[in-house]
Symmetry: none
DNA sequence: GTCACCAATGAAAGATATTTTCGTTTCGGT
DNA sequence: ACCGAAACGAAAATATCTTTCATTGGTGAC
């Protein structure tokens, strides 16, 4: 039978080399060779079978097993498991330590790691910087809105559409506008009880500010999602939701991190609204899920 | 307050749990039981032999081995070693980070925290599961493409547009299609040296598969970005980029996490292409930045 | 409904790895 | 040189893992 798990993994990593040193004197020559190999390259040895390790050390299987026993394991199998654990720990011990920007000559694997890290960073920053009071107020307004207009241009336009799609899925009436003229034309229709949301990273995109101003002046509740809480757009916003502005690099334009940030805010809005309108939102979500299922061919198993 | 790198990337079970989730749909019932056991208690399973695990899950040795194979290991022995590694990492003081699902009555602050955490998790899983070789191949194809068409519908449509916007910004010729008919019509124009990209979480969206098939048959290099590496769409894809499939909850539909995942992949593609075409990409990026600056009123500060 | 078919599954045979046994070798002491 | 005990490895015995194959159960065609 195999040794108890805790006992295997319990012993801290470094103790293996120590154990080898302590027990070395009481070991025979061949056993010492095995122990050395094990202590010297745990990861490598973990990949070997008894026979492999025996050959590597120029000894026999029996000796390897004897060594494993001496080191406190029931057999080689368990020593090997412990070695695998050790190797994994050593591996993870090397901190990713992502400090540098993405460089032109970074291998693709590094690009993936760095991008993922930076986006995680952006998310953490955004979550930390988000004013939950403002968010709650915005959610309340949305949940009770007769209709909602969302303005966004360029990359922010996609976020606007994303929010709109989501709100529609829970039965709310929402429209995304990226055409400034149409946006203003529609903003005129808004009145108290309606909601207008402007999404702009810089907070200075005139094409987005203008419809928000119109909506604001017509009495709609206005929300600004921006990375600059002191920018012009906030002038006409009842509630300001701040997205994080992480440093941009040449290969990672601001649009990238602002999008991540904006999407998180949008998701929060959506979930918040879904909570408040749960009674109607849940069935609506389920229904849209159902409807979509029929558009997909039954996939293989 | 930013999270520690190790903590973010750590989630040791994360990678495995993610793999299980991604592959779960392509698993049979008994294999799923095995996969669940393994993902649920890596340490415990590491202590078991094939027979033991088979008994625990009420299946047979054969099934256990099959599952190990599906998870990417040559056999159970290797899976077991990997599990031992995971167990060791978990043991070595790693926050369990067991977050509960978002509940209907969660205060808004919790919603923000949980959403941010889950999206970070999604990013880590995606980065871990991304095949860099496939990614590299896709990047190469894109960098040398005469033109690129991107297909996506619904939430994936926004991702398609995002990618298109980015590629255009570095001077590449790219189009996003969400109208299936137009997509097919355009796909016919593609030929060798062109690239077609299909974005679909389920991998079974006929409206997206069809144009990819046409593009494939016309000799274009085809790429699929999907959460189901065994789904129909991959049939016509030269390169498959897998997005992570995190569990969805009632208040956080699959679309949300798949979008995060897809966007990371898209960003990786973009940065990769920007690297390869740096000579032309850098000035193009700078130029588009310049052009936008003029659309913003000079902001305060 | 019934049939044919295919995927899923587990029992058991087969292959591999580990452990044990046991005889040979080595080495120190007389 | 001879003895005895410890060290060691070859090979048998056992445990574990892998493969094969027949059975099962479900699915779609007719």
């Amino acid at each position: 039978m195999t040794q108890d798990v805790k006992e295997i993994f319990g012993s801290p990593g470094g103790s293996l080399a120590a154990k080898v040193r302590t027990l070395a004197p009481s070991m025979t020559r061949s056993m010492q060779r095995v122990a050395e190999a094990v202590a010297g390259d745990p990861a490598g040895c973990a990949a070997l079978t008894v026979t492999g390790l025996a050959e590597l050390t120029g000894t026999s299987e029996a000796t390897v097993v004897r060594t494993a026993r001496l080191l406190g394991y029931p057999g080689y199998r368990d020593l090997r498991l412990a070695l695998a654990g050790l190797a994994a720990q050593q591996q993870s011990g090397r901190a990713p330590a992502i400090t540098t920007d993405i460089a032109v000559d970074d291998p693709i694997a590094d690009v993936v790691t760095k991008l993922a890290y930076e986006e995680q960073q952006t998310l953490a920053d955004t979550a930390a910087g988000l004013d939950t009071a403002q968010l709650g107020a915005a959610v309340t307004a949305l949940a009770g809105a007769r209709r909602t207009d969302v303005y966004g241009i360029g990359a922010s336009g996609l976020v606007a559409q994303d929010l709109t799609q989501k709100l529609l899925r829970i039965g709310l009436i929402a429209h995304a506008h990226s055409d400034p003229h149409l946006a203003v034309t529609n903003a005129v229709q808004l009145r108290a009880g309606d909601v207008a949301i402007a999404i702009t990273h810089s907070g200075s995109t005139g094409d987005v500010i203008e419809p928000l101003r119109v909506a604001f002046e017509h009495g709609a509740t206005t929300v600004a999602i921006t990375g600059r809480p002191d920018s012009p757009v906030t002038q006409y916003a009842d509630h300001v939701l701040t997205t994080s502005t992480s440093r941009e690099t040449e290969l990672r334009p601001a649009a990238m991190s602002s999008r991540t940030s904006q999407l998180l805010v949008v998701d929060c809005l959506f979930v918040g609204v879904a909570q408040r309108t749960y009674e109607s939102a849940a069935p609506a979500l389920a229904a849209s899920y159902e409807a979509l299922a029929h558009r997909h061919r039954s996939s293989p198993r």
